[in-house]
């Protein structure tokens, strides 16, 4: 197991103070902090090899292209993928939208009589299946696709315990696509994605998983998930902002219509029509986020050095501790599974009589950075009949003392507002 103090030394920001007290950062589920190694890798690239990739023939351009493609290699190994299956996007949201647009573009082209793969053509009578615990990023694109094509959106609900309620009949012969989150960013629940992907494939539908909260926190092998596509962000796994990954099966990527079009994704361009390069170039139009890809590859190396099994183990311990400590405070209710079985380190809770915004504010006054709000899972909040939650998320640089400070913050909020404040409703 790694030493948290050694890890912390790589993150200068963790030594700063906020509001006059030392920072306790418990918002890595929103975005992680970045180690010096990642920042150095980006900077080294800019100061030594910066040039345009895949378009130049001079020495710098060769170095830049090489660094960029080595980054793709490193990232693909990190998740057990083939290198050509890795498409660089700006964030996870873009990756999910890219797949949604494959459907609307194929559908538009089919209508114009162009030759497209029928698996991506969708319309009235077809359905798309998601869950009630999706992040808006894996919900709204499918709503939009349905609005544009006349397809129907369906979803699996959530049990009171915070587990997916996998009812039969939701995925059926009308289903063309299924997309589910691997680990909920609000509930912490880890879903049986393999089972759901198998259900999708059994009816001939394609399937996608949202890996935003799993790839940073546990060993993930994309081949084993049984999905056709996956998307996640770099900024939640020690990487820079502005980069995400779409993973897709090569056979599918190469028959999907392109998404963003322009330079570097073409094969041949005439004024009236063009042909396109195979994946991954096909989906990387324009000058890409080169420095960010290199930074993200360095982040993967950093995590591999710690060992993803260790990262998961470390967070499991912290999560167990967090759940236990929260259980001791009267008036605090956890939204999501109450033990660490099939659950990750995102722990959401509500405090009786105190709005999450106020809880968060009083924790912040003690230096504790947590997220309050609907966490881009508004429907999940409605399911549990709460306007919002306060959420603790941990990472490799957190230890039990951070949780202790968070607990102290919650207690101070209760004291401030009067443990059982009587707000006239």
């Amino acid at each position: 197991m790694f030493d948290v103090n050694e890890v912390r030394a790589d993150f200068p920001i963790l030594s700063r103070s906020v509001r006059g007290v030392p920072l306790v950062y418990l918002d890595s589920g929103a975005t992680s902090q970045k180690p010096t190694q990642v920042l150095d890798a980006e900077r080294f690239f800019y100061e030594n090899s910066n040039a345009v990739v895949h378009r130049g023939a001079h020495a710098l351009a060769e170095e830049a292209t090489d660094a960029y493609e080595r980054a793709r290699q490193t990232i693909s190994s990190f998740v057990g993928a083939q290198v050509d299956e890795i498409v660089f996007t700006k964030n996870a949201t873009e990756g999910i939208n890219l797949v949604a647009y494959a459907f609307s573009n194929a559908t538009d082209k089919a209508r114009q009589g162009l030759d497209v793969d029928q698996r991506f053509v969708i319309g009235p009578g077809d359905s798309i299946v998601v869950t009630e615990m999706e992040h808006h990023a894996n919900l709204v694109p499918w709503q939009e696709l349905c609005a544009k094509t006349g397809a129907q959106l369906r979803w699996f609900g959530i049990t009171d315990e915070g587990r997916l309620d996998i009812q039969p009949g939701i995925i059926d012969s009308t289903t063309k696509f299924v997309s589910v989150v691997h680990q909920s960013n609000l509930l912490g629940t880890i879903n049986p994605v393999r089972e759901i992907m198998d259900m999708a494939h059994a009816v001939g539908a394609l399937g996608m998983v949202d890996l935003c909260q799993s790839v940073p926190h546990m060993p993930v092998n994309v081949q084993e998930l049984g999905a056709d596509f996956a998307s996640w962000s770099g900024h939640k796994m020690l990487g820079p902002t502005g980069i995400g990954i779409l993973w897709g099966r090569t056979e599918l990527l190469n028959i999907m219509p392109p998404f963003l079009t322009g330079g570097s994704m073409i094969e041949m361009v005439h004024m009236d029509q063009s042909t396109y390069a195979p994946a991954p170039q096909r989906f990387e139009a324009g000058v890409p986020m080169v420095a960010q890809a290199i930074g993200l590859a360095r982040a993967c190396e950093y995590l591999s050095d710690l060992g993803m099994e260790n990262v998961f183990q470390h967070e499991q311990e912290l999560t167990a501790y967090t759940l236990a400590e929260l259980a001791k405070i009267p008036g605090v209710r956890v939204i999501g599974p109450l033990d660490t079985r099939d659950r990750g380190s995102a722990v959401s809770f509500v405090v009786d009589g105190i709005h999450p915004h106020d809880v968060g504010h009083l924790m912040d006054a003690m230096g504790v950075a947590v997220r309050v709000g609907h966490h881009c899972c508004w429907p999940t909040c409605r399911r549990f009949d709460v306007p919002a939650t306060t959420r603790i998320t941990t990472y490799i640089y957190n230890d039990k003392s951070d949780i202790d400070q968070a607990i102290a913050g919650i207690k101070s909020a209760q004291e401030f507002f009067g443990a059982s404040v009587a707000v006239s409703a």
Binding site: R19, H357, H361, P387, V423
Partner: protein, 152 residues
């Protein structure tokens, strides 16, 4: 620290909201939501026979948003649109001030308690949401002091 934000006046309005869910003859309604946290508010405006404003609100949210709605209803209820306008403007101004403005108690009364909120960018929207709903409802009902004209 927290004392910046949670003035006694605010806590009092939070715990004992005034004007919430009062039944009025509504001329127009505005529903506003804070997309970052899910706070919601509905404001209704009506008019007394003497032309003064009637305000009612309902909603859920944090102490700041609830207290602000309560203070707003207390300040605006019974004022003419002409009397209300400078108060509304002063409150908007205060919220933009980043803690740099000394609020005028003669105009803002209890609402001066929100001066500290303007130092916390993430909470400003909480304090403003009811006031924005009010302005919106007033425009819908045309109960604003100045008529808005549109250039085409």
């Amino acid at each position: 620290m927290s004392e910046d934000l949670y003035q006694e006046i605010i806590l009092d309005h939070y715990k004992n909201p005034r004007g919430k869910r009062v039944k009025i003859d509504s001329l127009a309604q505005s529903y506003q939501v804070n997309p970052t946290c899910g706070d919601e508010i509905t404001v209704d405006v009506g008019q007394n026979s003497d032309g003064t404003l009637l305000v009612s609100y309902d909603g859920q949210g944090c102490s700041i948003s609830q207290a602000s709605a309560s203070v707003m209803s207390e300040l605006i209820n019974g004022k003419t649109p002409e009397q209300a306008a400078p108060i509304q403007a002063a409150f908007m101004e205060l919220m933009k001030s980043k803690g740099q403005l000394e609020p005028d108690e003669d105009v803002l009364e209890d609402a001066i308690a929100f001066a500290g909120v303007s130092k916390y960018p993430a909470r400003i929207k909480c304090a403003l949401i009811s006031w924005m709903a009010l302005s919106d409802a007033q425009i819908k009902a045309s109960l604003t002091a100045t008529t808005t004209t549109r250039d085409e």
